[in-house]
């Protein structure tokens, strides 16, 4: 195994070299290219100042050198083994322990490593929250679609998922911000950033001034969850639907009243019908796990909405809650696109295994259907899902470029756009390098997980 990992790690080096060469070639061959002139273009400077700045850039970053030399210098800088340079950027020795240096950004004037270390955790946070959500939803729908093959749930869910996949992230982001974060409609969520300025001074967990409020909040939450859970489990579809439709209509009317400006009855009614319809549809489905979970979630949220109306004391939001509040919309934007692909994959994998001989044997033995599905079939269907998790990361990284720029989150994606727009050689190359490295490492991890999940696979 170690030998395999080592070989894979060694194979990464040529690929990473190739990646950076491609990006560097694009930059170098463009009109204007990477030169001091292109960097200071557009700044309104006097000729002497311009000349001085050009000289400065040339001296500092070696921009007057031919492109291949520039690239080789960069490679030498980032590789831990290589030539050491003296003050005039001339080679004066060879060292095995010189350490790697990602250079200094043109635009920010700071070490690239510092900037990237600042930004990477933010993008990874977004993605690490998103991936489990995508998997949970995709698996729950995909397995159901496979067992219901050819029926309306299967066809309906596949078309809806494909629809979700086709919604451009920008559209979803713009509409979500416009309707749920701007003060023209519902100002429920913050428009930008990852935390409010005050939240940085807050304690980590939320705090309430009186214990009574905590009790109310807790009771409302638990009561809401339990009531809707009870209804979803015990009552028939008709009663469930009536309950949820009434709840939805109430929420819709509340939403209509919360709109700023004059209240239009038509809009309120339409909202009430819309929310009631969605809730009734959730109550109608006979997919029990999905129904119970969504109804319990709705119950909890309703409890959370009602509780503050009864509370008297004031409370401090706390850092954690503030962060979650800021993350809600970006995570929605990032996650919905991944469903379609994974759902389809889950469905095919489960279908294939449901028809396999071992599943038939188990059925013939008299094992319960549920048990066959989750104990035998599902476990075997997990393999393709594991492999795919690797390809998910690059697409999420790309997705976060859009999401971060819409929600002004200072992550890698936004940094990438800024770097490219500023023609910042060091930053562009380093971002390529880091995201390429992340991608390749995630491929490797996926392959290793594959071996762990499937004992037949071995890399000896």
């Amino acid at each position: 195994m170690q030998a395999y990992i080592l070989r894979r790690l060694m194979l990464m080096i040529p690929t990473l070299l190739g990646i950076t060469i491609v990006v560097f070639a694009v930059m170098a061959s463009s009109p204007g290219g990477i030169s001091a002139q292109a960097l200071i273009e557009g700044q309104n400077l006097e000729p002497q100042a311009k000349k001085a700045l050009e000289d400065y850039y040339n001296r500092r970053y070696g921009l007057d050198q031919p492109a291949p030399i520039q690239y080789l210098r960069w490679i030498n800088n980032i590789s831990p083994i290589g030539f050491t340079l003296d003050k005039n950027h001339q080679i004066d020795g060879f060292s095995f322990f010189k350490g790697s240096d990602l250079g200094t950004s043109f635009r920010y004037g700071r070490p690239v490593l510092d900037i990237i270390l600042e930004r990477v955790p933010i993008t990874l946070l977004l993605n690490i929250i998103t991936i489990p959500i995508i998997y949970a939803i995709a698996i729950s729908i995909g397995v159901r679609a496979a067992t219901q093959r050819g029926r309306s749930f299967d066809i309906g869910s596949s078309v809806i998922m494909l629809g979700f996949w086709s919604i451009p992230t920008m559209l979803a982001g713009v509409l979500l911000i416009g309707f749920f974060a701007s003060d023209q409609y519902w100002h429920w969520f913050p428009t930008s950033g990852l935390s409010t300025r005050e939240a940085l001074d807050m304690p980590f967990l939320p705090h309430w001034s009186s214990a009574f409020d905590i009790v109310i909040l807790f009771v409302a939450m638990v009561a809401g969850t339990l009531i809707s859970l009870y209804i979803s489990q015990v009552y028939s579809a008709k009663i469930r639907m009536i309950f949820m439709a009434l709840l939805g209509a109430g929420l819709g009317i509340a939403m209509g009243n919360a709109l700023p400006g004059e209240h239009s009855i038509v809009v309120t009614l339409m909202l009430a019908i819309l929310v009631a319809g969605i809730f009734a549809a959730i109550a109608y489905t006979d997919y029990q796990a999905f129904r119970s979970l969504s109804m319990a979630l709705i119950g909890t949220i309703v409890g959370l909405i009602i509780a503050p109306l009864l509370m008297q004391g004031d409370y401090v939001r706390g850092f954690l809650f503030d962060r979650l509040w800021h993350l809600a919309l970006p995570v929605i934007c990032l996650s919905y696109g991944g469903f379609a692909f994974l759902t389809k994959l889950t469905r095919t994998a489960v279908l294939e295994n449901l028809r396999a001989d071992y599943a038939r044997t188990a059925r013939a033995k008299g094992v319960a259907d549920e048990l066959i599905l989750w104990r035998h079939v599902f476990r075997n269907s997990l393999l393709p899902l594991i492999t795919v998790s690797a390809t998910l990361l690059p697409s999420l990284l790309a997705g976060s470029v859009i999401v971060e720029s819409i929600f002004s989150i200072e992550g890698m994606g936004k940094l990438a756009i800024e770097a490219v727009k500023a023609r910042d050689r060091e930053l562009v190359l380093s971002i390529t390098f880091v995201s390429g490295l992340l991608t390749l490492v995630s491929y490797l991890i996926a392959d290793l997980c594959y071996a762990i999940a499937d004992p037949r696979v071995s890399y000896e």
Partner: protein, 399 residues
């Protein structure tokens, strides 16, 4: 009983058709694919006749008994080329000749008409959109026939002193079906003209990506060995760079022309096709018909492109359908990030406009965004249906 005999007869007719045609007819029987093709067809017609659907220039008018058609005078060479290509495509569709010949004729028609029109047609440099409305209100015309959407995409309605940002259908006198943007231009008209960019980018970028992918993938799959090693490393490199990032770099450094964007999206999205083609070629290379073609001493060109490629084209077409969707998305994303076209409206750029304005105007986001969604959805539906149609496993179990 009758059902089975019918089945047999349809099977027999199916067997007489080529594989490609069989897939195509099968795809067309699904309602999802029909919806997809229907929307694309509507879009193509809208795109081809865009200047006649949305323009401030009257289609036909009569001034002191003299008939004239200002719209024809303001047609650009691009408009004329697109019209010529559309008519040629329509005629070719009903002719019974080989597909490649059709493609060659179509491309040459586009080239020749583009060349001729760029020399012969010179639209007036300065267009004054207001003149028709002013003349009409001064009653200088006997009668005027306007386009269904009587506003050009760059007609900012200065004569009305418009401040823009008008809700859809807010004004009784002038109908803006989708409202107006900040400068006062009609959103629907801009969308109609932008449909050309979306379609053009989709087809051309995917075409380029397919060409590169088939070439590299074919070489990798057929020759394997060293060629395969190098090719796969190349594919790996291009797949490990986030495509969007590579696109951003390309566009930011190379400028923002429509044609450059098409080429760039094309050359950043070929690795997927190369993988598919390689797999198909690897599989088909060992089959008897290829072996016998080699034994016959056929030239390599013939083996690769007449024997292997047509048999392995189906999975590539599926990928292409999804590829068109992602090319449209890529263009929209670039435009949205402010790296798109500068002078012409595109759907993504209109979304960007919606974000840039100080207030949230839902019609500026919802209509262009909805158009992107519908188009991407249509291509994805077609791709999905095609994938099911070529998958023998799915087919076997549904019958």
């Amino acid at each position: 009983m009758s059902k089975t005999s019918q089945d047999i007869s349809t099977n027999r007719t199916l067997q007489n058709q080529s594989y490609f045609k069989r897939i195509f007819t099968e795809v067309l029987t699904h309602w999802t694919a029909r919806i997809g093709f229907g929307w694309i067809a509507i879009l193509v017609i809208i795109a081809v006749f865009a200047p006649f659907l949305a323009s401030s220039h009257p289609l036909l008018m009569s001034q002191q008994g003299q008939w004239s058609s200002p719209i024809l005078a303001h047609l650009t060479p691009a408009d004329a080329t697109i019209l010529a290509a559309f008519i040629a495509g329509l005629v070719l569709f009903f002719l019974k000749i080989r597909f490649l010949t059709k493609l060659a004729i179509l491309l040459s028609v586009i080239f020749v008409s583009g060349l001729i029109s760029s020399f012969t047609i010179t639209p007036p440099e300065l267009t004054i959109y207001e003149q028709y409305r002013e003349n009409q209100s001064a009653q200088k015309y006997d009668w005027v026939v306007y386009a269904p959407v009587p506003y050009s995409p760059k007609d900012y309605l200065r004569d009305y002193g418009d401040t823009g940002l008008e809700n859809p259908l807010a004004d009784q006198d002038r109908t803006h079906w989708a409202g107006t943007e900040e400068n006062g231009a009609d959103v629907l008209s801009r969308m109609i003209h932008a449909s050309r960019i979306a379609l053009g980018i989709g087809f051309v970028a995917t075409g380029i990506a397919m060409l590169i992918g088939i070439f590299i993938g074919g070489i990798m799959g057929y020759f394997s060995g060293v060629a395969d090693m190098i090719g796969m490393r190349l594919v790996e490199i291009f797949e490990a760079i986030p495509t969007l990032f590579l696109l951003l770099t390309f566009v930011a450094f190379f400028g923002r022309s429509l044609y450059i964007m098409m080429i760039i999206i094309g050359i950043t999205s070929w690795p997927g096709y190369a993988r598919f083609v390689r797999a198909e070629f690897l599989r088909l290379r060992e089959q008897e018909f290829v072996q016998s073609a080699i034994a016959c001493g056929l030239p390599l060109r013939s083996i690769l492109f007449r024997h292997i490629l047509p048999n392995g084209i189906a999975p590539i077409l599926v990928a292409a359908s999804f590829g068109v969707a992602s090319a449209i998305l890529a263009e929209a994303t670039l435009s949205f990030l402010g790296l798109g076209l500068v002078d012409d409206p595109s759907w993504g750029q209109m979304l960007n406009q919606a974000v840039q304005s100080a207030t949230f105007n839902w019609w500026m986001a919802a209509f262009p965004g909805g158009a992107i969604f519908l188009t991407v959805f249509a291509y994805n539906l077609i791709g999905e249906t095609m994938r099911d149609a070529i998958d023998p496993y799915v087919k076997k179990t549904t019958n």
